[in-house]
């Protein structure tokens, strides 16, 4: 047992990367194989009795998820996000946001808003923090349950992005409350969220998504269906309507947030694509879940569309809002399945 000769050839990186020719990137070094509950040859996720409640939960909702891959550790976030790059990126972004907030406050912009735009902000924008917090929770759950640290980390940043968005919403809520003390802004939000008919389909969507416990379904429900649909209403269409109604500030601030949504869409699309590449059977699994959540998302978009239609002076018809959101989601999904269909076509042609 002693006197074992030590190998002379030095390692270049962690043995977990196997015999690689390419040196892993810093992103890969700090992300690869971080979650020990996914270690190879484990009898169960946790170093517990295999039938303990936590082991059974992970067995049911992660190991036995219909969404499967040969090797989850091969997934990569297209943005290669690490903690360091994340805080750099977002500190920069928040500096920009703070600059805009300061400038518009200086100009007293909120007092110049039209009554219809104030009504839109108070009925749609400020109550949205409840919905966004629910999204934050679901994203955290995806991170908790994901079968690789490559997905967990991406979801971890997306969870924090939702907190960023809730934070900005909260800040604006207070500014608008100060500028329009009689508007109900700052006091009426929870009532609107819980009782306004326009919000109920969105509320139902997120309440149901909170109990979609299969990790793959939670990911599909939020990142592939609900978020791409609802964000099209709450961000893209809301900013457009706000600008039409002279609210440059809302237009600017929420346009900044679009960068976070785009980033989430990029890794989510990449993950869906990865699943399809790993196992063609995943296409049916994803389609089934997408089909389950699509009507829920459409109803949410239509409900919120009624606020865009009725509140501001220059509104947008609810049907048009819903159609726009649907089109945005479908364009996103076309990207997901594109590779698969091309591969399928190729196979058939061959």
């Amino acid at each position: 047992m002693t006197g074992q000769p030590r190998k002379a050839r030095p390692r270049r990186t962690f043995s977990a990367f196997g015999d690689v020719r390419r040196m892993p990137s810093e992103y890969e070094i700090v992300t690869h194989g971080q979650n020990w509950t996914m270690r190879a040859n484990r009898p169960s996720a946790f170093e517990h009795n295999p039938s303990s409640p936590p082991n059974l939960w992970f067995l049911t909702y992660r190991e036995n998820s219909p969404l499967k891959a040969e090797d989850w550790e091969q997934f990569r976030d297209p943005d290669s996000m690490t903690y360091k790059t994340y805080v750099n990126l977002q500190a920069e972004a928040e500096t920009k946001t703070a600059g805009v907030l300061e400038e518009f406050a200086e100009a007293n912009a909120d007092s110049a808003l039209t009554p219809g735009q104030v009504a839109l902000l108070g009925s749609m924008f400020t109550p949205s923090r409840y919905l966004l917090h629910g999204c934050q929770q679901v994203e955290a759950y995806i991170g908790y349950m994901a079968p690789t640290s490559y997905v967990t980390n991406a979801a971890s940043f997306a969870t924090a992005d939702y907190l960023r968005r809730v934070t900005l919403t909260a800040y604006r809520t207070r500014e608008l409350q100060l500028a329009h003390p009689d508007s109900g802004i700052g006091t009426a939000e929870r009532g609107i969220w819980e009782n306004d008919e326009a919000w109920q389909p969105a509320r139902q969507a997120i309440e149901k998504a909170l109990i979609a416990y299969d990790w793959g379904e939670a990911f599909t429900a939020l990142n592939l269906v609900l978020a791409p649909t609802i964000d099209d209403v709450l961000v893209r269409q809301f900013t457009e309507v706000s600008r039409d109604n002279g609210d440059q500030l809302s237009w600017l601030l929420l346009s900044f947030l679009q960068a976070d949504n785009d980033r989430r869409n990029r890794w989510s699309a990449a993950l869906a694509g990865f699943c399809l590449q790993q196992k063609p059977e995943n296409a049916d699994v994803l389609r089934r879940w997408i089909a389950r959540w699509t009507p829920v998302a459409d109803a949410a978009a239509h409900g919120l569309g009624r606020l865009l239609e009725t509140r501001p002076e220059h509104g947008r018809a609810a049907d048009e809002v819903a159609a726009g959101a649907k089109a945005a989601r479908e364009a996103f999904h076309a990207r997901l399945f594109e590779g698969l269909e091309a591969a399928g076509e190729g196979k058939r042609a061959g």
Binding site: M1, Q4, H48, R129, G143
Partner: protein, 510 residues
Amino acid sequence: MTLLKREEWQHFVRDVDWTFRYVDDEAVFPEWHSGTGKVPREAWLSWEENYKVTYPEYVATQREKEASAYAVKAALQRSTAFDNLDEGWKSSTKMHFGGVALVEYAAVLGELKMARFGLNGAWRNMATFGQLDELRHAQITTFFGHEFVGKDPQYDWTQKTFHTNDWVPIALRNLFDNMMISPNVVDLAIELPFTFETGFTNLQFVALSADALESGDVNFANMISSIQTDEARHSQQGGPTMEILVEHDPVRAQWVIDRSFWGSARAFAALTGPAMDYYTPLEHRKQSYREFMEEWIIDQFIHTIEDYGLKKPWFWDEFMRGLDTWHHGLHMGLWYWRPTLWWRPKAGVSKDEREWLQEKYPNWEKVYGGKWDTMIDNINANNVEATLPETLPWLCSMCHLPACNATQSRDGTWRVRDWSLSYGGKTYHFCTNACRQIWWKDRDNVNHETLIDRFLAGQIQPMDVGGILNYMGMTPDVMGDDPDYAAWTKDYTGRPATGLALSTAKGDQS
């Protein structure tokens, strides 16, 4: 004109709970995840963190910290500092990288769990920052450890340790799965941020940071002190959770604290204890492990639990007695089973070192001196083989560490005692009375095979040391050996070797 002050608007960020209409509250916050227990659901409405932070403040602060931590690393990268470090200190860093990097990641998962299942919006938001913090710690530790893989393959275990079935990570997974990743969030908020982060991480981080500077490892000191600056923020989740639990269910609060304190104490005795009292060069030791525990853990812990109206844990006397024995026995075990380690354990028992140990631990010579003499005499007789293992130690069914705690009998002799328990037709063995008691109370979760159980069940093949090392993921280029036998045996060359016959006949029965 400046921005609004945080106090003017942060309540909107914190106020994000609502009443569910389309699903049951119990479905969104299932009992075994959220763990409200006897605490009325509405009691959580009063949960409030002491340390308030906003997203823009968070990213701004953290960007600065990251920049400075990596700048120091870059500045030191080209220096030869690493090559001049003492082997004992390097072993402490290898143990730290391998034993800590992925535990930080386990904490990411625990924080994500609280960000989802925490019973108050403000708590879930704090956990969102918490999971980012822990991700930072996992990444910075992994990255700093990675830097050395080219110089020494043992640093490969920075990432590898917890993917193996080595006995050390089995014991640590067992502990951290139970207190970080899988418990309900109420227990988790007390076990992870409260007992562990406000208590035990001080031991590893404050002590090790001081030792790093003493040993000339500025890079390592820079890394861990930067990590430690984050703890104050996310560890705040423990206090408010504790307040509410104590008010409604003090018995449970006491149990959760007691259990996690005990588990942490066992793990730190195995790792931090030997690093402080044996691996750190004598001239760099500031305090003994016992002194450090007394100053940094015990006083603070007692103070804290008394603040909450709780009592000392039921095992207190057993724990305090263990401060003189646990880590010495475990150190001997680690050294003896050194081929199973990803570092090079120094025995650390030269004459000067033994004098220091005897001064700090007045029973040291009586309990451990003779056993080390046997090792020394064998090595001086050129019989290193006799000091290497041929079998496995008995592992405790609760902490999964070797059952090697000497206790004093009424007649004054010191013996390693077996605490056993029969359950379901099987006899379980424990290293301490408290391990046995905790196992009994938690048996639905922790009734789980130790490495020895796996070996005896034939899961490890072939059934010899080679088979065991292979099962543990140990490779020849990594397996630990003493870095310098002469350093601690040369003081004793030429003396009559009384232990030799005993050791060759019974060397594997420790």
